[in-house]
Structure formats: C-alpha cells, structure tokens
Subunit: 393 residues, 2 copies
C-alpha cells in the first residue's frame, strides 16, 4: 500500500496522477513533488514505531513513494552517522557542532539516497533504460542502482570528473559518455540522444522521486536529534535537491505532529568558482542565472544553473538562512583542518561547509550555543585525483 | 563498568591483568585475547535489549573492553549492510548468497572496527603516540581514529600502497613513512624506531583490542540473521584478525546463549601471489611460513606471515572450512562481474571472495541451498590506481 495522493507541480500547482513514468510538469516543465495523505500516515505510524526498524532510509517507508517493499532496489543506503565534532567546534568556540557523514553510503555519497528511490520507481513503472547527466557521484549511483535493478544505464559525464567516478560508473556496466565541458553540456548532449532511444531521464528534479530519497536526510536528522531540529544546517549546494528535500521533510513531519513549527536556518554553500545561488540570494532574485565558466575542484558544485533554484532560494529565505561562497583555497584548508582535527577525510563539497562556517562565524552570523550541522556529502577517497593539491602531499 | 576479567595468551594460556598498556604475551610473545565474565553479561543483557540501541558496533558494549562509554573514540563504525545478492547467486544456481559490505565504514574499510577499539583503549590506558605498519587501510584507520582522539600517529606503509591510503593517512595528520618493500619490511623499520620514541605498537594481534573490534562482525552477522549463523563465511585473509575475531565472537555468543552450537564453515581467501595460509592449510601445518616475493594488487592480502596464523588455521579446521587462493586475473574478473551484476564496486580483497566462491562451487564444495556470506572489506574507490587494469577502462 502507499499513501501517495498525487504529484504536484512545485511552481504552478498543476497536479498529475502517479502510477506512470513522468518527468516534469506537463504545464510548465517545473519539478513535480510527491504528495501524501499525511493524515492517514499519522493514523498508521507513530514515530516511536520507527525504533524497531532497520537502520536505513527505508524505515520511513510510509512517506516514500513505493507501493510495496518488494520493489525496493537497495544497497543499504541511509541512516548515516551524525557525529559530534567537538575538537573542530572548539576552534571557533562553538558548543554544539555536528557532522552528518554521507560518506558511509553505498557508492560513497549522498546520491545513493535519491537514486535508490528513483531507480526503484522507474523499474516499477516500466522503464527499461535510464540516463543521467552528472557532475560525478550521481552517475556512479545511477549506474550502481541500475545494475542492481537489472536496468541499462547511460551516463553523461564531464571528462574532468574525478577518476573514481568514471571507474565506478564503467564497472557498474553503464554506457559512459565523457563530455568536454560541464554537467550542462553533458545534459545537452544527453537530451539529443535520449528521445530517439526511449531512455528515461533521471536528471535531478526532472523526475519526482530522487528528491524523495534525499528528503530522508531531514527525517534522519530529526530522529537522530530526538525530534528537535538543529538551529542551522550548512549544506553544499550543486543541484540543491537535498536542501529542497529536507525542507519538504520538515513540512511533512510538522504535519505528522513529529516535530514542532521551528525550522533550522538553511545555509547553501557554493564555490566562488560557481555560485549562482549565492549571487541570486544576494541580489534578492527568485531564480538564479546561468553561471558562465564554472570552475572549482569541488566537482559536485560545478552546476551552473539548478532546475530547482527557485525552491532553494525560497527555502533559504523562509528559513532566514543564507548562501555563502568559499574559494578552493579555503576549501583545501578546510579539508586539512578537519582531517587533522577529527580524522575525517571530507569530500571537497563537505569541506566547503566547514569553510563556510568559519566565514559565517567571523561575520557573527552564528551564535556559539547554536546547534549546527554540517553535511559531508561523500567520501574524500573519491577525489584523490580531483584535488590538485593532493599531488604535493 | 566492564565485564572484562583479564587477558589470556592465545597460545600458552598465560594470563595478564587488564588495565595497563600491553602488547603480546610476556611469556611467549603470542597474541593476548580479552576474556569476559560472560555469565555476568548474560545476567545483565538479553539479545533483545540490543534492538533499541544505535545501529553501530558499540551496541555490543558489554562484550567490548571499555570501562565507560565516554571513552569511546567513534566515527560511526559498524552495523554495515548485509545485502542479499540474488542476481550474483543466480549465476551459480546458489539460493542464499549474501554480501556483508564493509565499504560503508568510516575510512571506507573494515579496519575502522579494530582501530576504533584499539585507539579508545590506548588513549584510556595512557598512550600518547601510536604506530602501525600497514598494507594500506589499517594505516588510514589508525591515523583517523588517532586524530579523532587527539593522539599522534606514525604509519609505516609500502611505497606501492594505493594512493588513497597514502592521502587519507597524511590528511589525518599522521607521520607517514613510505617503505620500499612489504608490510613486513615496514614493520621491521617501525620496530627500530618505536622503542626509542616510546610509541605504542598497534600492529594487529600485537595489542589485544583490535580483534575485539573486528569480532563485532560476528555479532552483527548473528543479529542480522536473527541469531542463526550462516553455513559458510568467505573471508579475505591478510592478517586474519577478522576471521579469528568472528570465531571468538561465535564462542562468546554460544556461552551467552544467544546462538546454538552450529558454526559456519570458515573460508580463508588469499591471492595466489601471497598465500601462506592456503599453503599451510593444504600442508596440514599448524603455522604458516613466510611467503617470499608477495605480489598482488589485492594490497590487503600482501601479508607474507600473519602473527595469528595458528589461530586462523585452527578456526578453518575446527569449522571444517578451507583456504583458497585466487589469481589477480580471477579477482579482476570478479570485480567486473559483481559490478555489472549487483552494482557494487568491490575492493580487490572482497572480489577475491567471489572468485573463491566460483572455485569452491566448481569443486562441489558448496551446496546450492547453503547460506553463504561474502565479505567486502572495503570500498573499491580506494583502489582506483591500485588495480592496473583500471587504467584501460
């Protein structure tokens, strides 16, 4: 059984029936979001029921879009550690700093969450071949879950993506197309090919289910903090699906009566080499503009224009959050500092969050007693050849 | 409080007091094992009590050697996924094949378990600087947990260790010494230096606590299989601490009344380029002989002589298990096959286990209806430059 009531356009409100393969809103081409009968979920599920369930993201099955558990394509994703990082916190006099470590995921990144749900749904709804443009980790995750599901996958990836992403994707049996350019160029090439082959487009927010997987980060944070959300969430933002997803999760949990009305201030972290959300946030704009010449070793942040930019910006503003750009030098210093201080080998995108906390702290934007969560979205091991400074170690 | 009663030599039975820093048996220099008052543990803890505990290896706190939870040095280790791999199983007509995926660990390998406990104990007992010789992953894990604990670490590593191991170890602030040679050469150099500096030796089985962390793999398997152990465990064997640890866990759980007297058949998997345990097992010997000229891309299996070899061989024989050597070509084929079939990017050591299952199946050593568990001991991402064939992908 499922509690899904339908799909709703995040921009124009148009509703669509679930139960068949869809991409974006047929009216305005904006992202579709899954809606649930949360009143019914509330009758069926208490948050204390979760305690006995396996420690993966599928413990939130009632607020996920599958009809039956047998349809799950899993590699053991979710319920990653929430680590107190006290030694790091002490550097800035912070009292309650936490790291949500998404390195401990199948395929070594947070992309596992979204692709697990998306591939499960795509297979259920009859897709046979799946395609994706990627900055790196999403391609590896699509290939992995596709293989696990017995589906063919086609991955379009910039040629300068870290080698680990290329290798993992090829090894999972994907058809990998390396593209000279950025994820936006990869997407353009994919668009040309997918229609003639009948592939299903798994680009983030161009299908409704990856965000459902990503939102489980919000459910986990709530559960791991005993249903009191933190004060600040610092999140690296490429496509921004995780941030939008967590914001959606908070609204759902509020409606379920699992949390109260308080929300964290949401912080988008980008690279100064590709910061369309930061620029739009500072300009007071509702959408971002395409960032020309994106360049940063934080490959997951090389996203010149996110389809869900307006949703990211909405969440930042509604939450009284902010957006911060950090340089690659600051990010590298953060990799070193967190490694030496806490023993955690962050991915560059995760390290950028610590650099952002340093910046926000120096601006007085953070109170020392606030509960702050950084997201490490993947394993540093996947970037060994991606960070130029590592060559000199 | 702790249920530890003392340390006991695994060879001569000599007992030693816990509560101070020790390495091997003062009488015969063999590994010391931690003994618990399991009768008291049984009075305090039911296996059903575990259900409410966090999904990490510290849920088994009563059978771990720490006095108090505050002493734990954690990065979120343990309770890794146990995945059914049905598509892979179908290739050989097996009905119940599982993979325990230790890639989802801090530092991306199973070494996190042992080093978490060892570093926690070393710090508690007053060590200030820790040292280790490593084939790769153990060095990264010692450096990480050392940093987390605020202790200095010294890691001696063959120069041809995969780059990810070197980078992760340096980034965690360790003093890394690259050695031309094997782990045995690294150990020899470390021995020369550690005495004069007063470092504490964290070599596996040269201190009593790494094995206590490793044994939690046995506890987890039992719990994940609802307290009925599988029929066969296929385990890649370098130092062999995990295998010895699981065997110890099974005996403890039997005494606790958590499992019955049935035991899995234990299978040691090695590389044909370094197979001292296989050779000793086939020769009916009680110990292995130093393997000259060890060479394999499965860097974790480049261990020419394990200190606990006699314990490994005992467990293989008591369990009516066996030992299997596979070539690097077979291992590479296994990486490809498991990647394409299940979407899992195995480390070479984990892939060797699938190659071994293929070999054992063709010999008729496995019954199709048996429950078989393969161990993937680390993330394939850490070996991107370690497997020569990857350069041609």
């Amino acid at each position: 059984m499922t509690f899904v009531t339908g799909l709703e356009c995040s921009r124009c409100g148009h509703t669509a029936e679930p139960g068949r393969l869809v991409n974006t809103c047929p009216q305005c081409a904006s992202p579709l979001l899954v809606r649930y009968d949360l009143h019914e979920v509330k009758r069926h599920l208490k948050k204390t029921d979760l305690l006995d369930r396996p420690a993966d993201m599928w413990r939130y099955f009632e607020v996920l879009p599958l009809d039956e558990e047998e349809a799950i394509v899993t590699l053991g994703e979710g319920f990653t550690p929430l680590l107190r990082v006290g030694r790091l916190a002490a550097k800035l006099g912070l009292e309650q700093l936490y790291l949500k470590d998404e390195a401990l995921q199948p395929t070594g990144s947070f992309k596992a969450r979204g692709l697990s749900v998306a591939v499960s749904m795509a297979r259920t709804l009859g897709a046979r071949e799946l395609c994706i443009p990627t900055a790196g980790n999403a391609g590896g995750a699509l290939a992995a879950y596709g293989a696990r599901a017995g589906l063919r996958t086609h991955v379009f990836m910039p040629r300068d993506t870290p080698r680990a992403n290329y290798v993992e994707t090829v090894l999972a049996g994907a058809d990998v197309v390396q593209v000279d350019g950025l994820i936006s160029d990869a997407a353009r090439l994919m668009q040309q090919r997918m229609a003639e082959h009948g592939w299903f487009d798994c680009s983030t927010l161009k299908e409704p289910y990856r965000i459902e997987g990503k939102k489980t980060m919000g459910y986990e944070l709530a559960e791991q903090f005993q249903w009191v959300l933190p004060d600040v969430i610092v999140y690296p933002t490429g496509g921004g699906t995780g941030l939008i997803g967590m914001w959606k999760a908070f609204a759902e949990m509020d409606e379920l009566g699992w949390i109260d009305e308080r929300r964290p201030r949401m912080v988008s972290v980008q690279s100064s080499g590709c910061a369309p959300i930061v620029r739009a946030f500072e300009a007071g704009a509702e959408e971002s503009e395409f960032w020309e010449g994106a360049a940063t070793f934080s490959s997951g942040l090389r996203v010149p224009k996110a389809l869900g930019d307006f949703l990211i910006l909405q969440a930042l503003r509604e939450s009284r959050g902010t957006a911060v750009a950090v340089s690659d030098d600051e990010t590298y210093d953060a990799i070193r500092e967190v490694g030496e201080t806490e023993g955690i080998f962050l991915c560059p995108e995760g390290a950028a969050c610590w650099a952002a906390v340093r910046a926000l702290h120096s601006q007085g934007w953070l109170r020392p007693d606030e509960r702050i969560v950084l997201f490490n979205t993947g394993a540093g091991h996947k970037y060994v050849d991606g960070v130029p400074q590592f060559a000199n170690l």
